[in-house]
Each structure stands twice: as C-alpha cells, then as structure tokens.
Amino acid sequence: MEKRYYPHWNETVWFEKLPNGLPIYVVPRPGFTKKLCYFVTDYGAIHTAYTLNGESLRAPDGVAHFLEHKMFDLPNRDVTAEFAALGARTNAFTSYDLTAYYFSCTENFDKNLRLLLEFVSTPYFTPESVEKEQGIIGQEIGMSTDNPDSQSFELLVKAMYRNHPIQTPILGSRDSIAQITDKTLYDCHKAFYRPDNMLLCVVGDVDPAEVAKAATQILPAPDGAVITRQESWEEEMTPVTPTVTAHMEVAMPMFQLGFKCQAPEKGAEAIRKEAIGDLAAEALFGESSALYQRLYEEGIIDGSFGGGFETVDGMAMLLASGDSEDPEAVKDAILAQAAVLLQEGIPQQDFLRMKRSALGRRVRDLDSFDSLCFRICAYHFSGYDYFRFPEIYKTITAQDLLDFIREVVRPERACLCVIYPKDSEVTDK
C-alpha cells in the first residue's frame, strides 16, 4: 500500500486502489483499542434513475434506504448477531448520495472486517422478507413524520427544487416502498454495490496489508457491467415558492432558510467552494459575527441557530436554521447584513481569525473516529483527498467570501420553511 504523510495534521494514511477497483484508506491509530471500519457505496436516495447494460431503469423512491435494511439478511444467518458475538457494534445509514455500512470493535478486527465485506457484497432477498420490511420501514416513516427537524427539511427542499430528486424523502413514502420487489433490490445491488463504486475506510491500530488482503479475497472481480446514472438536473436558481409553513407539535416556531447555489463540480473546486460557503456563512451569521450577537441579544435567535453550506450530488444551498419567534425577521436581517458586508468588506484580521478557528476545529475533529471516517468517504466521492484540506484553505481570500455572498444571498434565491406550534394562530401567508 502507498504511505502518505500529512505534516499539517501529523497524520499517516495508507492508500491503495485494488485490482477489483475498490479504493482503501487506512488511518493508523496506535495506542487506541477502538477500530472503526466504513464500507460505503457512492449510491444514495437520489440515484433512482439509472441504466444497467443499456437498459433504462427507474427504481421506486426510498429504494437505497430499503436496500440498506435488507442487506443485513443472509440465508439462515443473523449478521447482527454474528457481529455481536464478535464484540462489534454494527449499523448502517443512507443519505441522499451515499449508503454506509460500518462496525466498531476492539477485538477480532479481521473477522469483523471479513463479515462486513461478505454481507454487503452478498445480495439475498425474498418476497416474504421484502414484505416484512415494508412494515418496519412504514413505522420508520411514521416516526419521521413526527420529527419536526426532518419534516421541515423535507418541506424546504420540496419548496426549493423543481427537478432535483432531493425533493423526495430518503425513506420514500408508504406508497413508493410498496412497489419495491426482490428484483428491484437485486438490480440496484448489481448496479451500485460494485467494488469500483465503493470505498473501504478503516481508522484504528490495524495492519493495512491485512485489510487489502481481506478485500481482495472476499469481493468479486469486475464483471464488465456498464452502469450510468443521472447525476445532474436542470434547476433554476429561484425556488418553487419563497415560503412554506406547517403546524406540528413543537414548542416554538422552528425554521430552515435556504439560498439556492449552483451545484459544484467534482474535485478540488467542489471542496474549495464548500469551504468558501462555510466561511461565508460564518462571516455573515456565524457566532463570531455582529449579526449573530445582535439577533441573540434581541432574543430573535437562540443557541439552536446555525448553518453552513450543504451539498448533495447535483445541488447545493446555503442553509440557516434554528428556533425563532420571528423567522421572517431572521431572513430579512441576513439579507440586510449581506448588503452591509458587501459595502464594508471583511477586515483581514477577522478573516484570518476565522480561518485559524476553522482549522483548529478541524484538528480537534480528527480525534473523532466517526467524523474522520465519514469525511474521508464524503471527500473521496467528491474527488478529493480529505487530508489535503489545508492546501485548499490557503488559497481562499476574503474576496472569495464576498463574491459568494453577492451571488447567493439574494431575496430571489431564498426559501423559508417554518414549522409553527399546533395551537398557534399563525396561518400560511
């Protein structure tokens, strides 16, 4: 394996792309007992339209998450119990653009790794098990319906996007998952759970060569199948509607405010744009900003307020969210502050302090196994090496932030979603 050293972080990383197409990252953690392993596919809720060997397919909404649940089935075996017997904790999650399977353990690393590779690469679905899962996921959809955070995000993106599939919930709906069959799952597995569409990442005190060996032995060789999928969608930069509201069992109104951005391309530019977006959010309404202090002292926002640059394959937005008695006032204040910043500029001293703070927080973040694994995977699928992040940072100037704010923080790009308490008088505007 190739050994890479990153002096900024004092980190060593082992990397290799196996002959079967699978990229592997191993980040050694000598002195730690915990080992964390992520096995991730570059496939999430938005990837429903695809072609498999020339055949056009359209899977029902919610299929990536459904498939994630069903992967844990193997004939006459209980994968979760096998991990537990080996002392590992295992779980999985599905986001808009990736699906991750992971385990953490302190002992039996090699056995656990082999079990993870085996079960994620072994499709086994029956009509009966699919039907049973429809009941379980139906319950999960019910739980999500009661969760104001997920509901408000889903309402927001529905009000913002015309074509991008982010407007569909990750879980799908009870109707859409009812259309899923065992064949749907076999097709999606064949198309997207291929070593060359996946990534294996380990953080912990393990032998990198053993990781590569296990992945070479267990995973299949390339089968020559040709897969394409839709990765970009036509989007105007204005939302479908500028405001959307709903009523739920919440104590105080909660809001999410999005500003549509152009979808970044892959590679260093995408990472740079994300960093610029996050720093611009900090300069505009972050905790160190004059605006944050004013709104906090006026009681318009509280500690729940925050935001940053959010991106999913084919879309991006600047997002601010929190609880507030007056979400409209927050939106107006952010737009007004953008004008002030554009007129007055960002003092160099403030800009350097923001960068110093952001880099310091990244250093602390490296202590978290989970956060590190997740970032390595997300950056890899964006076409960039996570540990080279400081190099991107060096090239960003205060002017980049202002250019971003000028382009994005505009009334015509904004969309505000507010969840009001059930018994409140406020009605849709």
């Binding site: 017997a85 319950q139 955070d149 105080m252 302090r353 110093r356 602390r364 202590d367």
Partner: protein, 420 residues
C-alpha cells in the same frame, strides 16, 4: 492512572495524562444535591456566565477570544448523576504542537475560564438583567422543546411518575415555572453561595504534567472566599407512583414507557449481572426486545431498555402503533419472564457481554468519554476502572442474569397515544 490533587479544601483536580489526542479537555463543575429549589438556578447559571465577563463582555467577544485560541470551545454543562446535579463548563482546545505559533494554550484557556467564572458582569447587586432574561427564555425553550422529541418527552413523563418521591424524578434542567421565577439578584447570591460552599471537581485530559495543570488551576481559586460544606452521599431510591397513565397528543406513532425498580444498584453484589441482564433484555440490536418484538413481529420501530444504576431503576420504551399498547406491554413482560425462566441462549449471553465489554474498552478512546466515565464513577461512589468492570462482566453467569431479572419489578406505565 488518574492523578488526584486537592487544590483547596473541596476543590479537586482529576488529571488523566494522555498524549494520543490532538486536543485536550478541561471541565469544571460545582456538585450540588439536586433540589426543586435550586435545580433551575443551577441549570441557568453556566449559560449566564457564558454571556460575558469583564475581559469579554458579550457573546461575540467570547467567540472571538475562542477563535484566537485556535477554535477552542467552552460550553455550559449541566448533568445529573443520581442525587447530584452538576453545573459548570467543559472546555476543549487543540494540543500545542498543532498551533501555528508555539505558545501554549492551557494557560490562556484557564485564564479565560477564571475570568468567566469570577468576573461576571453585574449590576444592582445581581447579574446583568438582560443576560438573565435572555438565558431564562432560552432555558425555558430548551425545556419546552423536549416536546419535539416524543421519545424523550415520554421517558421524562415516566420518570416523573416512577420517581414521584425521589429526587431522581426532578428534571435535570429544573421546571419551567421555577426558571421563570428566577431574578438576577437571587441568582447572583445563589452563585456566590455555591461558589463558596460546593464541592468543585475539575477534570483534565491531555499531555501536560499534573503539576503544571494544578498550578494553573490554583490561579483560578486563589482569590475565592471558600467555606466548603461537605457533600452528602448518594441515597437509596425513595419510591413513587404505581399504575398506568395515558396521555393523548396529535402524533402518528405512540410511545409506550414502562418503569421498573430493582434493589440492585451500583454497590450491589449483582451489579454486573444487572448490567448484563439489561443489555441482553433491551440493549442494542441483538437484545430480546428488539429481536422478538421488532424483528420477528414488526410491532415497533424502536425499542429498548435503560438502567439507572445509582438508583436501581430500569425503563423500557417503544415506538408503536397507537392501538397496540396492551399487546406490546404483554409481549415485553413475556420477554422479561423468559429471562427469569432462563430461556437465554449462549449467543444472547455472549452478545450482551461483548457489547458491554466493547463499550468499556472504548472509554479511553475520546477525552469526553474519559471525563464522563471517571467523573460518573467518582460521584456515584463506585470508581471502578474499565478493566475491573470488564472482569466483573466476564464473570457473570446465566444464573446470575436470571436472578437479576427476577429482582426487577414493574411499578408504572406511561403511554403517549396519538389521536388522529
């Protein structure tokens, strides 16, 4: 492994040397007996202190100061451990070798904590009124938004019934009406009093020498007028309500919560067996409740049990369809009976033990986990190292688990029911 230094009477530094992390942590807490009278004030205090001090008079100055310290963080922290309520701050900052310039960060972080603690902004004999009013509003909102998380809300309602006569039933953040009644002068004099009398525990994880950290901490308290009042020990469980309570709300999914008591607490000889039983019965994805009620019968999405060891309480909670509460309750009790009868497989024993052991082995893998584990142990009067704890878990037999299961008794049930 922990160096303990009594800095002044009742003020103790627990120092856990560790050079594996890229960050260090320093926490400081005043330890109080939780009472209805002061719970809300203790919950409010750190938030008010973090609004401003003489060297950083507003939240923006505080953030800028922390940004200068390479994105260090100092957050309010309010915890509950058995009868105790802990109020204080938790700070994290990067190791010196990752700072661009080679100045050390411990000294400026400690100095900043000192300023936040001892130089708060005051007026008319109290804290600044705008700070207190603003943070009261935030704390009340935090208490109210528990309602947003239906599972947490239902669990809190159950604990309220189960612990009607025990201080453990008091919510960690106090009651809304008690927060509303706080005024800046009363809060300030309460603060002066607890700063003077409380047991104060500090916990450091990082690579600095214990003496260096102790010397830095001394500078915080050198000028503080102290008259330490001994902290009473944790008390046994006092009992509460029985029976079932049903509350209706407009939710799609019902939340069933069941409260049990057991004589087995942290100091009981069967403590480790109780831990294994709780995990085998309701912990994680391999437990009896999850496997039988969710996986085999698809009757719920989430289900699990929790064990509060300082008091000897166990709770079960499940997200279910609103007309299934009687059925699911019977099935949960059926699983409990199975444990009492010894219907426990070798795999179930192994999975439960391995899950506990694995999480104990992970204690030393993050500064906050180290701080939380050892501080909880010290304050519950059972300061077992993870290694001793693991040895205790390994020695548990199936018969021990059966005995632990038999000791558990159902006391009360709470059901949050949806109306459509």
């Amino acid at each position: 492994m922990i160096h303990t230094t009594e800095i002044f009477p009742g003020i103790t530094l627990y120092h856990f040397p560790d050079s594996r992390f890229k960050q260090s942590c320093l926490s400081l807490q005043m330890v109080r007996l939780i009472t209805k009278e002061e719970a809300a004030m203790n919950a409010l205090l750190p938030a008010v202190l973090l609004r401003g001090c003489e060297s950083a008079p507003d939240i923006r100055s505080i953030t800028l100061k922390l940004d200068d310290l390479y994105g260090a963080s100092i957050g309010a922290q309010v915890r509950r451990i058995g009868d105790y309520q802990l109020t204080g701050m938790y700070g994290s900052f990067i190791g010196d070798r990752y700072a661009m310039e080679s100045e050390g960060l411990l000294t400026p972080v400690v100095e900043f904590m000192r300023s936040l603690l001892l130089e708060p902004l005051t007026e008319n004999g109290g804290f600044r009124k705008d700070f207190v009013d603003g943070e009261k509003k935030n704390l009340i909102a935090a208490i109210q938004s528990q309602m947003n998380n239906k599972r947490a809300y239902a669990s809190a309602q159950l604990l309220k019934d189960l612990c009607a006569n025990d201080p453990f039933g008091l919510p960690r953040l106090g009651y809304e009406e008690d927060v509303a009644a706080i005024d800046p002068v009363t809060l300030y004099s309460h603060y002066r009093k607890i700063l003077k009398e409380s047991r104060i525990d500090l916990f450091y994880v990082g690579e600095q020498d214990p003496q260096v950290v102790a010397d830095a901490i001394k500078t915080i308290f050198a000028g503080v007028d102290r008259d330490y009042v001994n902290l009473p020990a944790q008390t046994p469980f006092q009992g509460g309500k029985e029976g079932k309570r049903v509350e209706t709300m407009e939710v799609a999914q019902g939340k069933l919560c069941m409260g049990f008591t057991t004589p087995i607490n942290m100091k009981h000889p069967r403590y480790h067996a109780m831990r294994v039983f709780n995990t085998l019965f309701g912990g994680g994805m391999t437990c009896k409740l999850f496997q039988n009620i969710r996986e085999k019968q698809s009757l719920c999405y989430d289900i699990g049990s929790g064990y509060y060891a300082t008091k000897g309480l166990m709770t079960v909670s499940a997200g279910i369809d609103c007309d299934k509460d009687e059925l699911v309750q019977e099935l949960i009790l059926g699983q409990l009976q199975d444990c009492c009868d010894g219907n426990i497989t070798e795999e179930e024993m192994t999975s439960a033990k391995e899950a506990l052991i694995s999480s104990l082995q992970g204690v030393h893998d993050s500064p906050s986990a180290i701080e939380g584990y050892y501080l909880t142990g010290l304050l519950s009067g059972s300061p077992e190292t993870p290694d001793d704890y693991i040895a205790g878990i390994r020695a548990v037999t199936k018969e021990d688990v059966m005995e632990a299961a038999k000791a558990v008794q159902l006391r009360c049930v709470y059901f949050l029911k949806g109306v459509q």
